[in-house]
Amino acid sequence: MSREPTDGPDKPIQHPEYEKSPMDRRTFLRRIASATGLVGTTGYLSLAPEDWPFSLKDRTGLRSIPKIRPFRLTDFQVAKPSPSHPDVAVGRGGSPTEMLRKALDTLGGLQHYVKPGDIVLVKPNAAFDRAPALGATTQPELLEGLVRMLLVDCRAQEVRVADNPIESPPDCFEKTGIRRAAEKGGGRVYLPDSNAFKVLNTPGAKLIENWPFFHRPFLNVDKVIGLTLVKDHNLCHASMGIKNWYGLLGGVRNQFHQDINEIISDLAIMMKPTLTVLDGTRILMRNGPTGGDPSDVAPGDAVLAAVDPVAQDCWAFEHLLRRDPNDQPEYLAMAEEKGSGQRDWRGRLQEVT
């Protein structure tokens, strides 16, 4: 629009910038069209029936309820090299890492279970801020040995070490020595923050059919190995290989103490690990699962590796915690019922010295 020159001897009283501009037809039509378009679109989006495309209508209020799509874990198990191999192997004699190697070799060698290029997750027990000697958390040197075997012997692509401790995660990983050991061996530690959890669906589980699970470290994981120790437990009598998976749960998991046996047997079907390693060199005999006094810890001479965690736990309860097999924790029978293994280890176990 052109502007009339207003400077002059007899300029109007109005402000010099003022200018009259009646709306032309084109502008008028454009405005009408855009107003109609805007009203039409919003009208369609908000008023069209729910099944029409792009409709945002929520007649009952049900559409806006957030939908959680749970994920599922794959079965990480690997078949034994031959049926004649044992399901549970006990290595004895030498350093913990040597015992571990003996046990793994008896099962057919770690290389059979972990292939080159695999991403492996190792789940230690880092639940408490305790020195390793107190027998409440996974031994760092055994973890380092395992991580090294995975990276060097099996040529795994990546080894991840993850746990969701009860106490402060950074402190637990630091002071149990687990972070240092994992990183020294070449692994990467995953700490849980509130965004690291996703709802996991476990078919057949009674308490945790859909439950928040420490998901982030499990992205693209091929193999899972549990690495924990044998501990007394105030409520369920013994915390061993299966109970270790508790450390991957999120949410209000402290409610599970109301039915501890059910939850542990649920864990046995939630996680089907490639291997479970049980460290029997430091056994927490009482005051579990936290311990805190060196006199609660008994020295042992065994490291177990197993493809059947139920049988492994049964043997450990009897031979490492030295308890009467008749007092066996209830959850073992329940886990057998749910089909995650067999309690009777006789004939399926081999000891190597």
Partner: protein, 566 residues
Amino acid sequence: MSNGDEPLLPLDAVKAAEARANPLRRLAGLLTSQRVRKLLRLTRVRIVSQAFFFSAFLFFCWATWTTRMEGYPVSRILEFDPLVMISTMLSTGYVYRYLGWGLLVIALTLLFGRVFCNWICPYGTLHQFIGWVFDIYKGKQSFERNRYRDLYHFKYGLLIVFLIMSWMGALQIGLLDPICLMYRSVATVFAPAADMALSEVQNAGVHAAWLDNLKFAPGVPRRVFVGSFWIGVLITALVGANVVIPRFFCRVLCPLGALLGAISRFSLFRINRDVHACTDCNLCLTRCEGAADPQGAVRVSECFSCMNCIDDCPEDALSFSMVGLDTKQVKPAPELGRRRLVFSGILGVLAYPFIKNHGTNTDENFKGALMRPPGSVEEHEFLEKCIKCDQCINACPTNVLQPATWEEGGLESLWTPVMNFDIAHCQLKCNACSEVCPTGAIKKITVEEKMGRGEFEEAGPIVLGTAFFDRGRCLPHAMEIPCVVCEEVCPTSPKAIQTEDVEVKDAFGKLVVLNKPYMVPDLCIGCGLCQAECPVKDERAVYVTAVGESRSRDRRLLLKDRSRES
């Protein structure tokens, strides 16, 4: 160069050729050249200094974390703050640990004036930056708003009130001391916000390890800070005020600036105006940070030594030089009349009984929620030392440490650290908060000392409070449902929570074994792990209150520890 007979060169050219030949002279020539001098002028150096100290501040905030802290002097900027030194010296009579370093800043001020405000202070840098970004004023307005206003004497009055209160024993400088305010705001407002943003990036599917390293608090659930909304509102309002009055906080409120201003009247260097060269164009006011009237008689106590006026003077009439050029062109002292001095003195004397007689934090009437971090000195002494910088809260790996709200102990303990066991527990083998405390409100302790091991066997562990059961809400006690999470997690050995095992028939006729928990107060250290893990989430069936804390004789519970009797 032509071949054959060379023409005779002029003298200048010979010198220039010599200079080119001698590398040292070449360097000297380069350094004094107009271009380089313009590049290396004082304001540029100042910006580098500001950037350095601001980054150092952010780095220290980031490094204040359980896995990073070792070796870094993360509270050093607080320890260099002379107001922290002077006010805690007034309230306690002593100078704690590194606080003597504040003398360095005082010495610097005696040399160059308030350089701290515009060369070092991270809060000043933030203000200047925000003021620069949102500067919308042009022409005359841009310098009119930098003229001195009568309002700017307010900070001196405030300083006097704060110092008198400190001397009488109520340390409140932390409310407005810029360094405390900055640390507190980062710890409770900006750090969790930054972590939240990084988590969103991770949620979007980026799982690089450096994202975790960038976080202020990696690998823990989202941190929350009770009442931090108001801390955020305060800093946002103060920084936002820059749009109305540039450097509003620094000119009007800052008690540290007031202290340095009062000292800077004795400074050796200051802005000097050559009245013969000056044409009274007022351009020196355009970017004057301190509103120090460089166009007239320079107010030394207001001047931040930002050097902008030297840059802006078209006549080169201003210089930063030794005093004594023209004493008539200078107002060295703060403009605070005798009347105002007396008035603020009276306010300071009044404020002390007002605060102390509020009465929500005496040894007879104190809140159970007023539980202090491990290593804290006795409450009365604590309030004489805590400057509310919230470094302890930033260092805490579990998020148990929270800024106190008005609820726990009124204004006096507002934003001081308290433990909230509904949010988390106090990590047994952690002494991070005591490591970072700059004033000794939380005195430096070792893990041994905290746990009462080794040479501290005699003294026993540090007790933060005592746990109690609400048997009407406890699942095994009230409802015959097995639980005992509290007993499982209790970290003392032997456990302070023990159980009585009974077999009962529940309401549905099923036989259940109940481990009914009970408390052994002699063994309880008040770490709060039981409360944090109790599944009765709203009002916990087991909860810790302050009574029985070992730092205070008057807030103790048990006459003797039965576990130590042989």
